[in-house]
C-alpha cells in the first residue's frame, strides 16, 4: 500500500507510481446496493427541514381563510388586529395585487384574494406576530365583509351555468381548459370494429398526503437580499414567481429548499404562504415563518383531478386495438394550477405502450368552488390509464383472450412514434409483462384460485420529464457544477429538489463512477438559488434523466482532465487511465495505480482548481407532434410498467383485500436499485390506496354519473369531507399488500447511462390491476373508484338478480 499522505503534500511527493498487485475493483457504484447518501442526517434528527429552522427574532405568520366557497370581498378591516400587542404586520390582497400561477398562460391566483374568494379556505389576509398564538388571535380580529355568491361544487353544474362565473374574465364560462385532438378516422375504425367496449369511469380526487406540512420562512438581510426557505419541490418556479409578485429583480431573491418531507406533486407550484412570508419579511425587517396546519395542506391541495370519463375502444377479433375515443370531464377546483397540462396529459400520455391506429380525446377542465386540483404523482394520466386498462381487460374477456397476451399483441414497439407523434425510444414493456407474469405465477394460478380470489394485470407508461419547460425558454432544463477537492472529495452543486426520491443520490452515484470515488466521498449541495445552477424542479419525473445527464456532462469533462494529467505522469495514453473506487489505475495494467486523492492533488497542482459545469437541454427535433399541443407531454424517454395484483374479495362484507402486487418497471438502468425499488413500492402502494380507500371528497357533491345519488351533506357547498389525516384515510402499515418490486432495465440512449424515470410510472397500473383482479375474483366491475365495499356488495347484488347487467 502507499504511505499516508502528509496534510499538505507537495506535487513532488505525488509523482510516484504505486505498484500493487491487488486487482482493481471495477464494480460500478451505479447499480450497487446503497440507500440515500444523506439518509443518516435525517435518521438521526440532524437534517433540518423547513420548520426545523429558527432564525433570530423570527416572527410567525398565520393566514386568514375564507369560510365561503364563493363570495365577493366588500371590505376588510385589519385595524383591530394591527393594534394588538405582538402583531407586527397585517397584509391583505391589496398588498400583493399581482396574479400568479405556475403556467404563465393561466395565471389566475392572487397570494391573498383581491376581490373574490373562490373556495372555502381561499387566503384573505395574513398576520406576522411574535408567536403563532398571537397571530392566530389576531386573525380572529380581522373583520371581512363578504357578499356571498352562489357556489358551484358540481362540475356538471358549473359547466351548465352561465349566470355564475367563478372567474369573471374567463372567456368560456367556467371552462378552465378544453382540448380536443383527433388522430386518424376514429368513427370509421369504431364502425368496423369486431368489438367495441364502451363505458363510464369515475375517478374521484385524491390528495398527496406528504407527512410534512408546507412551511416557508422569509428574510430580508441588510443587503436587501430576500431569502425564502421553503418546503417546495420547484424552487426555481418559486424564485420566478416571487420576483414577479413582489416586483423584485431575481438577483435580489434567494430561494433555498431544505430537505422536504414528501411532496408527490403537492409542493410543485408556489403557494400563498411563500408570498406572505416574503412580503411580511419585507415589511417587518424580520424573519417570518409560516407553517401550514394539516387542514391548510388539504385546502392547498393541487391533488389528483376528479375525472368523469366515457371511453369507447374498438378491437378486431384478435384483440388488436383499432381506435380509442375518450371524453373526460375534469373537476379543476377554484384555480388553474397545472390544469392546462393536466387536460392535455389526459389524452397525450395514452399513446403508448399500445398502438392506437386511431385516437380521439376530448377533455374539458371546469372551474368549481373547491380546493384547486393539480398534479399528483402520475399527473394527468393515472385516471385515463385506469379507463383504458379496464377496457382492455373487458375486451380480453369478451374475446376469450389472456389479458397479458392481448397487451402483448398491442405493444407499440421500440424506436417508434405514438399516433400523437411522440418519439418512443427504448421500451421494456414486454419484459415487464413477462416479469409480472412469471413472478405472480399467472399461468399456473390464474383461474385456479380459491373462491373470491383473483389476479389482474395492467400496464402503463410515463415520461422522464418533458421536452419543453413550463415557460418558453431555450435555456437548459438542468445544470450542475462540480468541484474536486484536494481532500479527495467531490462537491456537486445541483439545482434539483431532493424530496425523498433520492435525486441527490442519483447525481452522486453517476459522478462517483465517472470520477473514481466512493459515494461517501460525494457532497451534494442542492437547490439553493445562490449556490446552485438552475434546475426546473422535482416534477414530471425529470430529475434522473435531466440532472443525471447534466452531471455526466460535467463529470466527464473533469474525468478527461484527470486522465490527461495522470496519463502524462505515467506516460501512457489518457484512454488507458481508469478511475474507480478511490483509485486511478492503468486499464492495461491495473497493478499500476495511485489513490484518487493523489490524482486530484496532482491535477489541481497542474491545472489549478478543478471544476466543471454541465447542463442538459432536451431534444426538440422529431420527438413530438407537429400540431397545437403536440409538444405537451413529449419526453426524451419513457418508462414502462406492468402490475399484477392478487386480491381476495369477501362477498359477505364487500371487503377487498389486496394480498400482493407484483410490479415490474422499466427504468432504463437502475442507478440505485434500492432507491428504484423504493419508488416502485411507494408508487404501487399509493395506487393501491387510491384504488381502495382514498377520496378527497367535497360536500355535498363531486362527480357522479347519471342516476347516482347525491353525496349526502349539509346545504353548504364546497366543504371538504375529510380535512385531517384521521378522516382522509391513508393506509397504515397494517393495510398494505405485500409489494414485490421487479426492476427491468432497457437502457435508453437519451438517459444518463440509459436511465429513465422510476418515481411516477409505477403508480398508474397499480389501480386497474386491482380493479381487474376484483373482476377475476368475483365477476363484478367497479368502474367508480375507490373500490369500496358498499360498491362491491351492490354490484354483487346486481349480478345475482336476474335482471342484472351482464358485462
Amino acid at each position: 500500500m502507499t504511505r499516508p499522505l502528509s496534510d499538505n503534500p507537495t506535487a513532488r511527493d505525488l509523482h510516484r507510481i504505486t505498484v500493487d498487485h491487488s486487482p482493481v475493483d471495477e464494480t460500478p457504484v451505479v447499480g450497487s446496493r446503497h440507500g440515500r447518501v444523506d439518509a443518516l442526517d435525517l435518521l438521526t434528527g440532524v437534517g433540518k427541514y423547513a420548520d426545523d429552522l429558527v432564525l433570530p427574532r423570527m416572527l410567525h405568520c398565520k393566514i386568514l381563510r375564507s369560510p365561503h366557497a364563493h363570495a365577493r370581498i366588500l371590505h376588510i378591516d385589519t385595524s383591530a388586529a394591527e393594534s394588538m400587542q405582538g402583531v407586527h404586520a397585517v397584509i391583505t390582497g391589496a398588498d400583493l395585487p399581482v396574479r400568479y400561477g405556475v403556467i404563465p398562460w393561466t395565471q389566475d391566483e392572487y397570494p391573498l384574494a383581491l376581490d373574490k374568494v373562490r373556495y372555502v379556505g381561499d387566503a384573505v389576509a395574513a398576520v406576522a406576530a411574535s408567536s403563532e398564538d398571537v397571530a392566530r388571535a389576531a386573525l380572529a380580529r380581522i373583520a371581512v365583509n363578504y357578499e356571498v355568491l352562489p357556489a358551484l361544487a358540481d362540475p356538471r353544474e358549473a359547466l351548465a351555468r352561465s349566470d355564475v362565473k367563478i372567474h369573471e374574465d374567463n372567456k368560456h364560462g367556467n371552462i378552465s381548459k378544453q382540448v380536443t385532438l383527433a388522430f386518424g378516422d376514429v368513427d370509421a375504425a369504431l364502425a368496423q370494429a369486431e368489438l367495441v367496449i364502451e363505458g363510464d369511469y369515475l375517478f374521484h380526487g385524491s390528495t398527496h398526503g406528504a407527512i410534512e406540512p408546507h412551511c416557508a420562512i422569509g428574510h430580508v438581510d441588510g443587503h436587501g437580499l430576500l431569502t425564502v426557505w421553503s418546503a417546495t419541490q420547484v424552487p426555481h418556479y418559486l424564485h420566478r414567481e416571487l420576483g414577479r409578485v413582489l416586483d423584485r429583480p431575481s438577483h435580489s431573491i434567494r430561494v433555498i429548499q431544505p430537505p422536504v418531507g414528501g411532496a408527490f406533486g403537492g409542493k410543485s407550484e408556489p403557494f400563498d404562504l411563500e408570498f406572505c412570508v416574503a412580503k411580511l419579511a419585507e415589511l417587518t425587517g424580520r424573519p417570518v415563518k409560516c407553517l401550514y396546519t394539516r387542514e391548510e395542506v388539504f385546502l392547498a391541495h393541487r391533488g389528483r383531478h376528479p375525472f368523469q370519463m366515457h371511453y369507447k375502444t374498438g378491437f378486431d377479433r384478435d384483440g388488436h386495438i383499432l381506435a380509442v375515443d375518450g371524453k373526460s370531464l375534469l373537476d379543476g377546483g377554484a384555480y388553474s394550477s397545472f390544469g392546462l397540462v393536466t387536460t392535455y396529459y389526459s389524452g397525450q400520455l395514452l399513446g403508448s405502450p399500445y398502438t392506437f391506429p386511431a385516437f380521439r380525446f376530448d377533455s374539458t377542465r371546469v372551474y368549481t368552488n373547491k380546493p384547486c386540483c393539480g398534479p399528483k404523482r402520475g399527473h394527468g394520466s393515472v385516471q385515463p390509464r385506469f379507463a383504458i386498462e379496464v377496457q382492455l381487460d373487458k375486451a380480453a374477456v369478451a374475446l376469450g383472450l389472456d389479458p397479458i397476451e392481448l397487451r402483448r399483441r398491442n405493444f407499440i414497439g421500440e424506436n417508434t412514434q405514438t399516433i400523437g407523434g411522440f418519439h418512443v425510444g427504448s421500451s421494456g414493456f414486454l419484459q415487464c409483462l413477462d416479469e409480472v407474469e412469471r413472478a405472480s405465477g399467472w399461468r399456473q394460478r390464474r383461474g385456479k384460485l380459491p373462491k373470491g380470489r383473483g389476479l389482474g394485470i395492467a400496464g402503463s407508461t410515463y415520461i422522464s420529464g418533458t421536452n419543453y419547460c413550463i415557460y418558453p425558454t431555450e435555456l437548459p432544463q438542468s445544470a450542475v457544477q462540480i468541484c474536486l477537492d484536494r481532500s479527495g472529495r467531490v462537491r456537486v452543486f445541483v439545482g434539483t429538489s431532493e424530496i425523498g426520491q433520492g435525486s441527490n443520490t442519483v447525481v452522486a452515484t453517476l459522478a462517483a463512477d465517472e470520477l473514481g470515488v466512493e459515494l461517501e466521498d460525494m457532497r451534494v449541495l442542492a437547490a439553493d438559488s445562490d449556490l446552485t445552477p438552475v434546475d426546473l424542479g422535482a416534477y414530471s419525473s425529470r430529475g434522473t434523466l435531466m440532472a443525471g445527464n447534466a452531471c455526466l456532462a460535467a463529470t466527464r469533462e473533469l474525468a478527461a482532465k484527470l486522465r490527461e494529467v495522470i496519463a502524462s505522469t505515467w506516460d501512457c495514453p489518457a484512454g488507458d487511465v481508469g478511475l474507480a473506487h478511490r483509485k486511478a489505475y492503468r486499464l492495461s495494467d491495473p497493478s499500476v495505480w495511485m489513490p484518487i486523492q493523489e490524482a486530484f492533488i496532482l491535477a489541481e497542482s497542474k491545472l489549478g482548481t478543478l471544476g466543471a459545469v454541465g447542463s442538459y437541454k432536451t431534444p426538440t427535433a422529431n420527438v413530438h407532434g407537429d400540431y397545437r399541443g403536440g409538444t405537451i407531454g413529449a419526453s426524451p424517454a419513457y418508462s414502462f410498467t406492468a402490475h399484477v395484483a392478487e386480491v381476495e374479495v369477501d362477498e359477505e362484507t364487500g371487503d377487498v383485500t389486496v394480498l400482493q402486487i407484483w410490479c415490474a418497471h422499466d427504468c432504463g438502468l437502475a442507478l440505485s436499485p434500492t432507491l428504484v425499488e423504493g419508488q416502485i413500492e411507494g408508487s404501487t402502494y399509493m395506487g393501491a390506496a387510491e384504488a381502495l380507500m382514498e377520496h378527497h371528497r367535497v360536500l355535498p357533491s363531486g362527480l357522479r354519473t347519471d342516476g347516482q345519488k347525491r353525496d349526502t351533506g349539509p346545504g353548504v357547498e364546497g366543504l371538504l369531507a375529510a380535512s385531517s389525516l384521521l378522516d382522509y384515510r391513508m393506509p397504515t402499515s397494517m393495510d398494505v399488500p405485500e409489494l414485490t418490486a421487479l426492476i427491468v432495465e432497457r437502457p435508453d440512449p437519451r438517459g444518463p447511462r440509459g436511465a429513465k424515470e422510476a418515481g411516477e410510472g409505477p403508480l398508474h397500473s397499480s389501480i386497474p390491476a386491482i380493479a381487474n383482479a376484483v373482476y377475476d375474483a368475483v365477476g363484478v366491475r367497479i368502474d367508480d373508484l375507490p373500490i369500496a365495499p358498499e360498491k362491491i356488495l351492490a354490484a354483487l347484488k346486481r349480478k345475482a338478480s336476474p335482471s342484472g347487467e351482464v358485462r
Partner: protein, 337 residues
C-alpha cells in the same frame, strides 16, 4: 400548526382535590391520557380553561381481579389492559376491544376511563373552526341546526368508544366519585345506563363527579362475549361499526340468555336482549335471525364519515360473524374474538 388554546393545568394530588376543582363547572375538565381531549381542544369544539390531571390518583390505578368482580382503575392505560394477564384470561374480548383502539401510541397514553368518556363524534363537529364556521355550526357547536338529521332537535353525534359495547354486555358498572358535604362518596351505575341520548353531553357524569373505576363481574360458566369492530383501516381509525355479543349457554349448548350492544349509532349505544331465543341451539339459521333482529333495530346515521346504509348492512354481517365464533369459529373471516 394547530396549537392548544391557553389554559391552566393542575396536577391533582388527591381525589378530593380533583373533585373540588372539577366542581367549578365545565370550564374545568379532567384529563388522563388526553388523546381525545387534546385533539378536541386544538380543533376548538371543546372549550376548557382548566385541565385537572388525574392520572396519578391512586384510586384510579390498577386491575384487581381477586374478587368476583374485577375492578379496573379508570387511569389504566389501554395498552396495559390489552395485555393484562387477568383480563386476557377472564375477558379476552375486552382485551381485544381496547387493543383495537386507535393506534399503539394512543393506547399507551389513552386510558380505559378516557375511552368511556370519549366525546361523541360526527363529521360536522370533528373539524376545524374554519370548517364549522363555513357550515354555520351545528347543535354541538355554535349552530342551531343538525346536519345529520335536518330539522332534528337533538345532537346525534356517535358514541365511538371501542370499550363501551363490550363492557355493556359484560354487565360492567362505573364507579363514580363526588364530594358531598366535605366527604368523598361514590356511586355505581351500569355502563349500560351511563349514556344519554344528547350528543352534546352524553356521559351521565355531573360536574364535580369523576369516573374512578370500572367493575366487571366475572362471567358465569357457559358465558362468553365477542367484540367486533369495523373501520376502513386496521389501525388508527375509530370504529364505523362496533358491536359486542354475549351469550350464556347451558351445558347442552342451548341459549340461556344473550345480549348485543351496538355502538356508533347515535350518542347512546343500544343494548338488545336475545332472551326470545332462550332454549334454542345456535346455528347459522338462528344466527341470521338474530342478525336480522339487530339490523331491524339499529339505524346507523350519516353522522360519522362513512355511508350509513352500508354500515347498517355491515352491522348485520358483524353480528353474524360474532355468533359464528360459537358454532363455526373457523368460518369467521377477519379478526374478532
Amino acid at each position: 400548526m394547530l396549537r392548544l388554546p391557553e389554559l391552566e393545568v393542575i396536577i391533582a394530588t388527591s381525589l378530593t382535590e380533583a373533585l373540588t376543582r372539577l366542581a367549578a363547572g365545565p370550564a374545568a375538565r379532567p384529563i388522563l391520557g388526553g388523546t381525545d381531549l387534546v385533539a378536541n381542544l386544538k380543533t376548538g369544539h371543546t372549550k376548557a380553561q382548566t385541565l385537572v390531571a388525574i392520572g396519578q390518583l391512586p384510586e384510579l390505578q390498577g386491575v384487581d381481579a381477586s374478587g368476583d368482580v374485577v375492578r379496573i382503575g379508570a387511569a389504566v392505560h389501554q395498552a396495559e389492559l390489552a395485555r393484562d394477564p387477568d383480563i386476557l384470561e377472564l375477558f379476552p374480548a375486552l382485551a381485544y376491544a381496547v387493543g383495537r383502539i386507535a393506534s399503539p401510541q394512543i393506547r399507551n397514553a389513552g386510558t380505559l376511563g378516557g375511552n368511556l368518556c370519549l366525546d361523541t363524534r360526527c363529521r360536522f363537529i370533528n373539524q376545524s373552526d374554519l370548517w364549522r364556521e363555513a357550515l354555520g355550526g351545528c347543535l354541538k357547536s355554535h349552530g342551531k341546526e343538525c346536519h345529520v338529521i335536518p330539522g332534528g332537535g337533538g345532537c346525534v353525534a356517535a358514541l365511538s368508544a371501542d370499550s363501551v359495547p363490550i363492557l355493556m354486555v359484560l354487565g360492567a358498572e362505573a364507579e363514580i366519585a363526588r364530594v358531598q358535604d366535605g366527604a368523598l362518596v361514590t356511586r355505581r351505575t351500569p355502563i349500560a345506563d351511563l349514556y344519554d341520548s344528547d350528543g352534546r353531553r352524553h356521559v351521565r357524569i355531573a360536574d364535580g363527579e369523576l369516573l374512578v373505576a370500572v367493575h366487571v363481574p366475572k362471567l358465569p360458566h357457559g358465558a362468553r362475549a365477542v367484540y367486533r369492530k369495523w373501520a376502513v383501516r386496521q389501525s388508527i381509525d375509530f370504529p364505523l361499526v362496533s358491536v359486542a355479543v354475549r351469550l350464556d349457554l347451558d351445558d347442552a349448548g342451548k341459549l340461556k340468555q344473550g345480549k348485543v350492544a351496538i355502538g356508533v349509532l347515535g350518542p347512546r349505544p343500544r343494548l338488545l336482549a336475545l332472551d326470545r331465543w332462550a332454549g334454542r341451539t345456535l346455528d347459522e339459521d338462528l344466527a341470521k335471525q338474530v342478525a336480522q333482529y339487530v339490523f331491524d333495530r339499529s339505524h346507523p346515521l350519516p353522522n360519522v364519515l362513512y355511508d350509513h346504509e352500508y354500515r347498517r348492512e355491515r352491522l348485520r354481517v358483524e353480528v353474524l360473524r360474532a355468533l359464528r365464533t360459537w358454532y363455526a369459529p373457523a368460518a369467521v373471516g377477519g379478526a374478532g374474538r
